[in-house]
Symmetry: C2
Subunit: 356 residues, 2 copies
């Protein structure tokens, strides 16, 4: 069956401020140090499975040019612009309608544009296995990540180790971000995976489920589909999207649907959720520092220092993130990386939009 992909690239990626900005979010940045951006790596990663012509990018108007520039081989009509952000359910529905209209029923890989995967071959093999399961009946397949610590920052997937289809386990339920004690229990049970937000299904399967669980949205998506290729296309898209509720695919479909399966991924996944990820991804020196640019460090350890034009001198620091850009510099204690969003709130309150 035809394999296609929908890569979701509408996020703002505030947690990589000041490198990421409203007009340059995380998926368009190169955070690995090899020069390629997150979205370029995402497309590159699946090239053995999906032709570039069969890859769709869901984003919004303001990132249209960035997508074109960073993915010059992609057909322009494969860039789907959401008029407004309405979370993942409408985004995925829009992609499914476009793909179904072009190819009829087809396999559809739904992938975030801003995750990193270390072992591409294992990843692609896992996707192949997932496709095999998704081709059967109306199965919805998701990739779970085998947890290596009781992280409270992810949703978890409870699977049933007794109920197997191909290489996938049946999913019993999705659970929201747990507290630490609960997460420790999940880890010990070996029956929970992290919810990675990567899905594999047929267009027919997901559209059928949208019809069942989000019927109003489904109706709107069908009207959008009917207008594709007509003079009405843009107006229909605008009108219907503005009418959609903001719903995630997890809440809107996955938590309610039947025939959900998951594959346990062990392919070196990293959701690159904050600057701390750079310390995991990039090569650290003998002091545990990741250093880039014109930097002098004295007695500084386990820190991430990303220089720009200015000389940065770091003295006596431990676990500090320093990111310099043309107009702003961040100095952040690693454990406080989650508070970067408060900087942005503060800037908004002070009308300093030029830094957002």
């Amino acid at each position: 069956m035809k394999k296609t992909a929908l890569i979701m690239a509408g996020g703002r990626g505030e947690r990589f401020w000041p490198e990421s900005r409203m007009d340059m979010p995380k998926q368009f940045l190169s955070l690995t140090g090899d020069g390629r951006t997150m979205i370029q790596l995402t497309v590159e990663r699946i090239k053995s499975l999906v032709d570039i012509e069969d890859i769709y990018i869901a984003t919004n108007e303001s990132y249209m040019e960035l997508v074109k520039r960073q993915l010059p081989g992609l057909p322009e009509e494969n860039i789907l612009c959401e008029p407004v952000g309405r979370n993942t359910a409408p985004c995925i529905g829009l992609g499914a309608e476009h793909i179904a209209r072009k190819y009829g029923d087809a396999l559809m890989l739904v992938l975030p544009s801003d995750h990193l995967i270390k072992y591409n071959a294992i990843f692609c093999q896992t996707l192949e296995d997932a496709c095999a399961v998704a081709e059967q009946g109306g199965n919805l397949v998701t990739l779970g990540i085998t947890p290596d610590n009781p992280d409270t920052g992810y949703g978890y997937i409870k699977f049933n180790p007794e109920q197997i289809v191909g290489r996938a386990y049946a999913v019993e339920r999705f659970v929201e971000k747990p507290d630490l004690e609960t997460a420790k229990g999940y880890l010990a049970s070996h029956e929970y995976l992290w919810n990675s937000g990567m899905f594999i299904w047929k267009t027919s399967s997901i559209l059928e489920n949208l019809r069942a669980f989000l019927p109003d949205m489904y109706e709107g998506l069908e009207r959008i589909r009917a207008a594709i290729g007509t003079p009405e296309q843009q107006a229909a898209l605008e009108r219907e999207f503005r009418g959609f509720k903001s719903v995630s695919i997890d809440y809107g479909v996955m938590e309610k649907a039947k025939d959900i399966y998951c594959l346990a991924g062990n392919f070196g996944w990293d959701d690159v959720g904050s600057w701390l990820a750079v310390g995991r991804i990039r090569k650290t020196n003998e002091f545990g520092n990741v250093v880039n640019g014109n930097v002098v460090t004295i007695d500084t350890k386990n820190s991430i220092i990303q220089g720009k034009d200015k000389l940065i001198a770091a003295v006596g620091l431990r676990d500090i993130v320093i990111v310099d850009t043309d107009d702003a510099i961040l100095i952040c204690e690693k454990d406080s990386a989650g508070d970067i969003k408060k900087v942005l709130e503060n800037l908004r309150i002070c009308n300093k939009y030029q830094y957002l």
Copy 2:
């Protein structure tokens, strides 16, 4: 007796890098936030005691223009340029010769250009009291600072509380920077003061002592004096200075001389020895931060943040010094402020002289 002053302004002040540079050392910076530089404040502070025409500045060629610009009321001939730095003994000797040549025997206040004093009236009264003691015989008078903690970063002065002249105590001995245990003993004894490097004496007294303890240097200084106002002046200065040994006035004279007295100063002295001083001198906000410029702080305490043009966002920091300048930014843990000199060593090794 005529009161004159010699203000020593040849230091490089590396500990305020990157704000201070080779071509802009600490004494020419405004660190108090009131706009006036350290050397301007030093001159201002003694204006009730010494006329501007009677103030001499010892510095070196590279800071000549800075002195002229920052002290426009000062006669140009009062700026004494040391051809090479040879520590304080030759510097003070040169000042004494110039002052003695112009005024004959005169009182001479020897003051650093880069200290801060909070209570000017008390300071000036202390200087008056010191002058009264210095006018008697060949007395050499120094100002000691009443210690409020067992600081190991200062030399100490042991005085004899039984032996008093005017408001001064006789000095028993000068001691080098002690270890912490010794310093604690000094503090508890109430018979030790910090050596502030401020001296009051007659030109005749100091020259007599230079003749006694540094006879070669004294001879050279006399030859310089003989050449003042002749076409030979600059050549003599160059020749003699290059021949001088590098000797501090403490080691060369004070530790050997008789008739040394000290006054205990309680005038809010601060030698502004590092960026930490800025936290003492400037107003801190309710989080203990000293913040200047375009700065956003989130959960940041007891830190010193000096911004420039860029936005600085500080998140989750404790006891961090951040100083931004046009071409370099320092991020330094407070306890490591002493290691800033290692940054400069590093820059020298890497031939990055533009940052020095």
